[in-house]
């Protein structure tokens, strides 16, 4: 392990100060499942860990004022999928948090860390975007809010300025008639990085699609909101044909790479398949049907 110091912040102000004073090599320590590995492998110079898990706002999971859900940025996956309101109203968050790593990773890994690590394949990001989540950011300049959809700017890159960190993620209350589903493809059932992942959100007004959002991950430098897929769905009844058009739009929109996990061709194909499957499940959830996170 490289030579580094550890500091425990107990308030948002203290964490901001520690990060600002620590300069560019000071790093937030949330669950540590990415950053401890990076510090050990010396892929990045890190001189200070600022542990934010003792800041109440950064670890709470619960109802927000005026409806919706506030997730502490450092709340571990296990607290998210164990939460009764998450299970009943935000099942797409259960889909994602229960497949990040295995049980021991889920005991630590947070959605704030998943977002701030800014991997194109991050499994927490597409569902947060599909749900319309916002990152609450604190820093030397005070507090600001950035939609998760525009937070990540490239592989490993995001909008955070020096001294800033994400305190919480705000998820709006689900609209009546809405449903969200997240699925990923990996060569085995657990413990691997997504070849492609997709989150889809639908709001139905009777048989007709009133709103739709399709978000494809691991198939471009950042998670991709496929506007053309939404256009293929909105304003008409959900049908075999409209779902197929949305899938075609997703296949056309992705800009994947070839690597050891999958080829460009396979990723393009998967983007279509997972778009179809997530849309079907999102519609079932929108109609109040139970869709289990995992088989």
């Amino acid at each position: 392990m490289q030579d580094l110091r550890y500091a425990r912040a107990s308030s948002v102000a203290e964490a901001s100060r520690l990060l600002a004073d620590g300069g560019p090599t000071a790093r937030v320590l949330a669950g540590g499942t990415d950053v401890i590995v990076q510090a050990r492998e010396r892929t990045q110079k890190i001189s200070l860990f600022v542990d934010i898990k003792h800041i109440p706002e950064a670890v709470g999971v619960g109802g927000a004022e005026g409806g919706g859900l506030t997730l502490g940025a450092a709340a571990p996956c296990c607290h998210i999928y164990d939460d009764a309101s998450v299970r009943s109203s935000y099942p797409a968050l259960v889909d994602a948090t229960s497949l990040i790593g295995g049980t021991a990773i889920q005991g630590r890994a947070s959605l704030g860390g998943n977002l701030c690590n800014s991997s194109p394949a991050a499994d927490g990001v597409p569902p947060l975007i599909a749900l319309g989540a916002t990152a609450v950011i604190a820093g030397p300049g005070g507090e600001r809010r950035v939609p998760v959809a525009t937070f990540t700017t490239g592989p490993g890159q995001n909008v955070l300025e020096p001294g800033e960190f994400v305190v919480a993620l705000e998820v709006p209350a689900p609209a009546p008639g809405s449903g969200v589903r997240f699925l990923r493809f990996i060569p085995r059932n657990e413990m691997d990085i997504a070849v492609v992942n997709v989150a889809s959100a639908l709001r139905l007004d009777g048989a007709e699609v009133a709103e739709a959002r399709v978000v494809v991950g691991a198939a471009a430098p950042t998670a991709l909101v496929v506007e053309e897929a939404a256009e293929a769905l909105v304003g008409r009844p959900l049908s075999q044909e409209s779902i197929a058009s949305a899938a075609a739009a997703a296949r056309a929109a992705v800009r994947p790479i070839d690597d050891m996990r999958g080829s460009i061709r396979q990723r393009r194909h998967l983007a279509g398949v997972l778009t179809e499957r997530t849309l079907r499940d999102a519609a079932r959830r929108a109609r109040g049907e139970e869709v289990a996170s995992h088989p």
Partner: protein, 161 residues
Amino acid sequence: MSSRIIVSAEINGEPTEFLADERDSLLEALRDRLGLMGTKEGCNNGNCGACAVLLDGRLVNACLVMAAEVDGAQLTTVEGLAREDRLVPVQETFLERGALQCGICTPGFLVAAHALLQEHPRPTEEQVRYWLAGNLCRCTGYDKIITAVLDAADRTDVASG
């Protein structure tokens, strides 16, 4: 520069203070500072589960926790599973079923399986396999491990284990 720190934690039921380097992982502190060698290092990057411990009751990999982070916390390592001379059910069934060969993965499996049975006293085989997906074994082919865990779940005293 990192420096020496004093960490206080309850380890296997005992209030414990130890000296660590600020950059030590919990795994390094357990093995090198506290002599608790049951917790193993396999990959040192979160993939194998050989270093599994319970931190405030939750299953975590000790190689992905800083020693400094456990100040004020409660820890259970494989050494803390058995009470006096009484093994917990998974330890018994691992022995009876011969669910190990070289044994390097065994402490991690025991801690993880024990945590599973505390949370889900009657898991299905699928639940067992998912829960243990973060524990790797290069020797046994897993079947004996899964059978041992399911056997342990059948023992009536599991919930009190």
